[in-house]
Symmetry: C2
Subunit: 141 residues, 2 copies
DNA sequence: CATCATCCGTAGCCATTGCTACATTTGTCC
DNA sequence: GGACAAATGTAGCAATGGCTACGGATGATG
């Protein structure tokens, strides 16, 4: 093993890789509260099937996820009733939406067409630190 | 139901989420082949435990994922032997690394400090379309 | 108020990504 | 060549997120 020094440095790089499962779970939470907020805002209420159509998944997937987010105190649900946001969920939704808008506007100003900007901003928004968000804000000015 | 029109428009928005979900599937593959390439380059070989330390997960998780990527013809593995890249895996690794570098350089030029740029570029790189990548390249010039 | 369509919940399947605990292989050192 | 440590594999559990199939709840309409 000739390059031992190099191997010793490897561990340091694990920092950027947060646990994929955990990360995906909080991405879902952000997407859901944001969608619930938008749907209530635009249509007056948010139903399981609205979310299913919004995310293009089955109502079963939505139902299970909504139940989990209810347990996490982000949403309020009752069987066969519209979905509401908790205070905590509403705060997260506003923060996510704000960040999403900044990323979207940023990509458009960077010269990306609207369709691609919308797709990419959806994926990117969950991986943007406050420092990067600040840099995007500066660029927008 | 007064705001029916608004509800009818919801379906159209599912597109970005479908794309994001599809990308999640290949994220792991890209991270792994890129890591394997880097580890071979820097230390001469790539072992299961090297990847475990690199990603900060258990060797079991790595072992299982490596087996799957072997089935997908991206990696070559034999029990208790170093991990190698296939031609297909090497091509994907080079492409991923290139994209990763562009995103990282882009964030730094945007004014993000190196530490945050490294973390964010790792998450962002998987959600950048070719259009957005082109826009980043233009910005770098 | 009965019926029927729509909405939603539950059961139960699969894949991915995490883990611990335990078994096996490999390589090194005496 | 035996023993021991390190590396790797296997078994099996949990959480998340996808699905279909089926059944119960709700609300609108006759």
């Amino acid at each position: 093993m000739k390059k031992k020094k190099a191997k010793e440095k490897i561990k340091a790089r694990s920092v950027p890789f947060s646990q994929t499962r955990t990360r995906h779970a909080s991405e879902t939470a952000e997407d859901y509260v944001e969608a619930v907020m938008d749907l209530i805002d635009e249509t007056g209420e948010c139903r399981v099937l609205d979310l299913a159509r919004f995310f293009n998944v089955s109502h079963v997937t939505v139902s299970r996820t909504v139940k989990r987010l209810n347990d996490q105190d982000l949403l309020l649900t009752q069987s066969y009733k519209p979905i509401e946001l908790t205070e905590k969920g509403y705060k997260l939704a506003k923060k996510s939406k704000k960040r999403h808008e900044i990323v979207l506007d940023f990509l458009i100003k960077l010269g990306v067409d609207k369709a691609n900007a919308e797709i990419d901003s959806e994926g990117i928004e969950h991986h943007v630190s406050s420092k990067t968000l600040d840099a995007m804000k500066r660029f927008l000015k």
